[in-house]
C-alpha cells in the first residue's frame, strides 16, 4: 500500500479534549474499511459541507478534524471509502439513517466484496419487511383507536392485510375532520411515520426490530468480554471496566429513548395530528435511539469476529477506541445528569488499527477484516 507522500503531509494539528455538546456535533459513524479511518465520524462543517473527525494516527491523544481531501493526505483510502465519500459529500445533514442508506448503496456496488454486496441486498429486503410490519402495526393502531371493541367482533389483527387497509381507511375518515386534513393525506402520513419508526419496532414482534435487537446485543457484550481471562487480567481490566460502563449507559439510554418513541405510537390520532404540524420534531424523537446506538453495531461485530481475525487483545483495544462519546445532549434527552465518562474515554482511546509486525497483522489483513464487518452489517453503523 503506497504511503502518503511526505510533501503531501498536511499541517493538521490534533484537537485535544473534544467534548461535543450535541449528537450532530459528535458526528455519525461511517463504515470505512481503511484502517486509519476506523472510528471516524462525519459531521456538518461550520463553513458548510461535511468534515470528518478522525483519530490521531500517531496513537497520541486528540483527533484530527479535516475534510475528505485532508483525509487523503493522511492515508490512502480504499476504493470503497472513496466511493462512500463521494456519496456523503452530497448529504445536506448527516445522520444515522441517511448514512445507512448510503452505506447500503456503496456495499451493493461490490467495492467491499461480493459478500458485502449480497448482504446489502438482503439488508434492503429486511428493511422493506420491517417497514411493511410497522406500517401494518400503525394501521391496526388507527383501527383500534376508532372502532369500538365489541364482544365477538373481529379484532383488527385477525383480518387479512387488505381488509386492514380498508378498515384503517374507514377509521381515518373518522379521524380526519378532527385533524383538519384529508383522509388520504393521513393515510400517507401513516406510511411516513412507519418509515421513521420501522427500526424501532412495535406490536408483538417489536423486539426483533433492528434497534431493540441491537440493544440486546450491546447489553450482552460485557458478559461476552468478561468471559475471556485477558479481560479480567491486569492488561485488560481498565478497558473492560470502561466498556462495561459504557454498554450499561448506552443500553439504558437507548431503552429509554425507545420507550419514549414507542409511547408516541400508543395514541395514533394524537400522533397524526402532531405529525401534520410538527413532523420534524417527531422525526427527531424517533431518531434518538439510532443516535444513541450509532457505532455500537461495529463494536459488537469487532468483538464477535475477534477470535478468527485480529485476536482478543487487539479487539478489546479497538472496542475501547470505538466507544462513542455521549454529548451533553444525552442528559437533556434522558432528563438526567449523566456521567458520560468523557475524560476516561479520552484517556483510554488509542488508535488500534495499525499494521503490526509483531502480531503479523498487515494493512491488507485489516482491510479484509473491515470488509468482513461490512458483510456482516452492510448498512454499517447501527
Amino acid at each position: 500500500m503506497p504511503l502518503p507522500q511526505a510533501q503531501r503531509l498536511p499541517d493538521l494539528q490534533a484537537v485535544l479534549g473534544l467534548r461535543p455538546a450535541t449528537f450532530l456535533e459528535r458526528g455519525v459513524s461511517i463504515p470505512f474499511t481503511t484502517p486509519f479511518l476506523v472510528g471516524a465520524r462525519l459531521r456538518p462543517a461550520a463553513r458548510g459541507g461535511q468534515e470528518l473527525v478522525v483519530a490521531n494516527a500517531s496513537g497520541g491523544p486528540g483527533v484530527y478534524i479535516t475534510s475528505w481531501e485532508g483525509v487523503q493526505s493522511l492515508c490512502c483510502p480504499t476504493l470503497h471509502d472513496r466511493r462512500l465519500s463521494r456519496k456523503f459529500d452530497a448529504l445536506s445533514v448527516p445522520g444515522p439513517e441517511p448514512l445507512r442508506r448510503i452505506a447500503l448503496d456503496v456495499a451493493e456496488e461490490g467495492l467491499a466484496g461480493r459478500a458485502a454486496a449480497t448482504a446489502a441486498a438482503a439488508a434492503r429486503a429486511q428493511d422493506a419487511r420491517a417497514l411493511l410490519a410497522m406500517n401494518l402495526e400503525l394501521l391496526l393502531a388507527v383501527i383500534r383507536a376508532v372502532e369500538p371493541r365489541e364482544p365477538g367482533g373481529s379484532p383488527p389483527e385477525a383480518t387479512e392485510d387488505e381488509a386492514v387497509t380498508r378498515r384503517a381507511r374507514a377509521a381515518l375518515e373518522v379521524i380526519a375532520p378532527h385533524i383538519g386534513r384529508a383522509p388520504e393525506q393521513l393515510f400517507q402520513a401513516v406510511g411516513e411515520i412507519a418509515a421513521s419508526f420501522a427500526r424501532i419496532g412495535a406490536g408483538p414482534d417489536a423486539d426483533s426490530a433492528p434497534l431493540p435487537a441491537l440493544i440486546a446485543r450491546v447489553a450482552a457484550l460485557p458478559g461476552e468480554i468478561g468471559e475471556w481471562p485477558f479481560a479480567r487480567g491486569q492488561d485488560g481490566m481498565l478497558d473492560t471496566a470502561l466498556v462495561q460502563e459504557m454498554c450499561a449507559l448506552a443500553t439504558a439510554l437507548a431503552r429509554l429513548a425507545l420507550e419514549q418513541a414507542r409511547a408516541l405510537l400508543g395514541d395514533m390520532p394524537k400522533l397524526l395530528r402532531r405529525w401534520c404540524v410538527e413532523r420534524a420534531q417527531i422525526e427527531r424523537l424517533a431518531e434518538r435511539p439510532d443516535w444513541l446506538l450509532d457505532g455500537w453495531e461495529r463494536i459488537c461485530l469487532v468483538w464477535s469476529v475477534a477470535e478468527d481475525t485480529l485476536g482478543r487483545p487487539l479487539a478489546l483495544r479497538e472496542v475501547t477506541h470505538l466507544l462513542p462519546m455521549l454529548p451533553r445532549e444525552a442528559s437533556d434527552w434522558a432528563g438526567l445528569d449523566i456521567d458520560a465518562r468523557t475524560d476516561a474515554l479520552t484517556r483510554r482511546r488509542r488508535m488500534p488499527m495499525a499494521e503490526d509486525w509483531r502480531t503479523g497483522i498487515t494493512h491488507a489483513d485489516l482491510i479484509a477484516r473491515n470488509e468482513r464487518l461490512r458483510a456482516l452489517a452492510p448498512a454499517g453503523p447501527g
Binding site: 500500500m1 503506497p2 490512502c76 483510502p77 480504499t78 476504493l79 472513496r82 466511493r83 463521494r86 456503496v106 456496488e109 461490490g110 467495492l111 466484496g113 461480493r114 459478500a115 449480497t118 481471562p229 485477558f230 487480567g233 491486569q234 492488561d235 477470535e307 478468527d308 485480529l310 485476536g311 482478543r312 487483545p313 499494521e355 509486525w357 509483531r358 502480531t359 503479523g360 498487515t362 494493512h363 491488507a364 489483513d365 482491510i367 479484509a368
Partner: protein, 400 residues
C-alpha cells in the same frame, strides 16, 4: 519402494522415499498409516516429515498421534534427540501411549472407540477426544517410573528418561490449551496465558519449563514477549537451549520453512527475538544468518507460487466467475500480499512486488471477471491507487 519383491535395502529404500514426488509420498503415507504396528516403517517416513508438515495430508486418527499432538513441534526422530534439549524422541511416543491406555482401563478404551469412529484427526476431533485423554495421561505418566527394559526397548538414555517423561506429563496437563494455541496462535499473545503456562511448567521441573518455552515460542506471534517472560522465570541456559532447539529445527527443515505466510512470519519474528537475545553467541549468529537466507528464499518462492496460482484460478473461457471462485482468488491475493509484506520486512535484497504486478496485469485482462472484481483484486494486490489507475485505463470508474 524397490518393487523387486526381495528384501529391500533400508538405506536405499529411505533414499527412494525421500526422493518421491508428492503424490507418491501421500500413497506411501497411506500404506504406513494402515499398518497395525508401524515399527521400522516409522523410520521410513521420517525423512518425509518436513514435507508432510507442508502438505498436511489428512491422517487417520491414531491414539498416539492424538495423545502427543499438543507436543507436536517438539517431536524429533530418535537418532536426532539429545538429552537436556526440549525435544521429545518419536520412539518414546507409542510405548508411552500403550502405558497410558493400559492404565486408563475402560475410559481409555472408550476414547479409543470414539477416535475410531472419526475419519480424520482434525483439530476439533483432537480437542474433543483429547480432552478425555490428556488429564488422565498426565496423571498416569507422572506416577509411572521408566524401567530399564523400557529404556532398552526405546533406545533412549535411561538416565534422561525420568525427567523426559515427567516433562511430557507436565505439558499434557495443558494439552487442550496447547492444541488451541497451535490452532489460534494469537491466543499466545495473551500475557496472562503465557505466564500461567510457563509458571505451571516450571513446577514440573527444568525440562518441562524448557519444553513449554519452546512450544510457546513456536506458536506465539510475539516471541519477544514470550522470551522476556521466560527470562524472568528460567535460567539463561534453559532459554538458550530452547532457542537452539528451534533454530536447529528451522535449519534442518527442508519444507517446513515454506508454510503459509503466518507460519513464516512467526519464524521471522522468532529469528528477530533470537538475534536480540543471542548476540552473545557467535555460533548462533551464523546459524541465524543461514536460516534468514532460507526464509527469504522460501518467501520469494511462495510469493511466486501464489501469484502464479492466482492466474491458474481463472477459468479458461469468458464464463462468469462465481462468488466462491472470486472469494478464493481474493484470499490468494491477500496471502500473496502478506508474503510480499513479509519479504520486504525481512529485508531480502531486491525483494519487489513484480510477482504481484504480473498477477494483477493477468487478472485485469481477464474477461471472466466483472470490472468490480478486477478492481478489487488489483486493490488487494497493489493498493487502491493502482486499482484506480486500472479503472481509468479500462474505462470503468468505481461506482460508475
Amino acid at each position: 519402494m524397490s518393487g523387486d519383491g526381495g528384501a529391500a535395502d533400508p538405506h536405499r529404500l529411505r533414499g527412494e522415499v525421500a526422493a518421491a514426488d508428492n503424490a507418491r509420498v501421500l500413497r506411501i503415507l497411506r500404506v504406513v498409516d494402515a499398518l497395525p504396528v508401524r515399527g521400522e516403517a516409522d523410520a521410513l517416513i521420517a525423512p518425509l516429515r518436513p514435507r508432510l508438515a507442508v502438505l498436511r495430508p489428512p491422517r487417520p486418527p491414531s491414539l498416539t498421534r492424538l495423545l502427543f499432538q499438543p507436543l507436536d513441534p517438539l517431536i524429533v526422530p530418535g537418532p536426532v534427540w539429545r538429552p537436556a534439549t526440549p525435544g521429545v524422541p518419536r520412539p518414546l511416543l507409542a510405548p508411552l501411549a500403550a502405558i497410558v491406555v493400559a492404565a486408563m482401563g475402560a475410559s481409555g478404551t472408550e476414547a479409543q472407540a470414539r477416535l475410531a469412529r472419526k475419519a480424520t484427526l482434525t483439530p476439533p476431533v483432537a480437542l474433543e477426544v483429547g480432552d478425555l485423554m490428556w488429564p488422565h495421561a498426565a496423571a498416569v505418566l507422572r506416577a509411572w517410573h521408566p524401567t530399564p527394559a523400557f529404556a532398552a526397548a526405546t533406545r533412549i538414555d535411561a538416565a534422561a528418561l525420568p525427567a523426559l517423561v515427567g516433562a511430557v506429563a507436565a505439558l499434557l496437563d495443558h494439552g487442550a490449551t496447547l492444541c488451541r494455541l497451535a490452532q489460534q496462535p494469537d491466543a499466545a499473545a495473551d500475557p496472562s496465558l503465557a505466564g500461567m503456562l510457563l509458571t505451571s511448567a516450571a513446577r514440573g521441573g527444568a525440562a518441562a519449563l524448557q519444553m513449554m518455552l519452546a512450544l510457546l515460542l513456536a506458536h506465539t506471534p510475539d516471541a519477544g514477549h514470550a522470551l522476556r517472560l521466560a527470562e524472568s522465570l528460567a535460567p539463561a541456559s534453559l532459554v538458550d537451549g530452547a532457542l537452539d532447539f528451534l533454530l536447529r529445527g528451522f535449519a534442518e527443515a527442508t519444507g517446513g520453512m515454506s508454510g503459509d505466510a503466518a507460519a513464516m512470519r512467526r519464524a521471522a519474528i522468532l529469528l528477530d527475538a533470537m538475534e536480540r537475545q543471542g548476540g552473545r553467541r557467535p555460533a548462533r549468529a551464523a546459524k541465524l544468518a543461514v536460516v534468514r537466507r532460507r526464509l527469504d528464499g522460501a518467501c520469494r518462492a511462495r510469493l511466486e507460487a501464489a501469484a502464479d496460482g492466482l492466474a491458474r484460478l481463472l477459468p479458461d473461457g469468458a464464463g462468469a466467475v462465481d462468488d466462491a471462485e472470486v472469494a478464493g482468488m481474493e484470499a490468494m491475493a491477500l496471502e500473496a500480499r502478506r508474503l510480499e509484506a513479509l519479504g520486504r520486512r525481512g529485508g531480502g535484497v531486491g525483494f519487489d512486488d513484480a510477482p504481484l504486478r504480473r498477477a494483477a496485469e493477468h487478472l485485469a485482462a481477464s474477461a471472466a471477471l466483472a470490472p468490480v472484481d478486477r478492481l478489487r483484486l488489483t486493490e488487494i494486490l497493489l493498493g487502491p491507487d493502482a486499482a484506480l489507475a486500472l479503472g481509468e485505463r479500462a474505462g470503468f470508474a468505481p461506482g460508475g
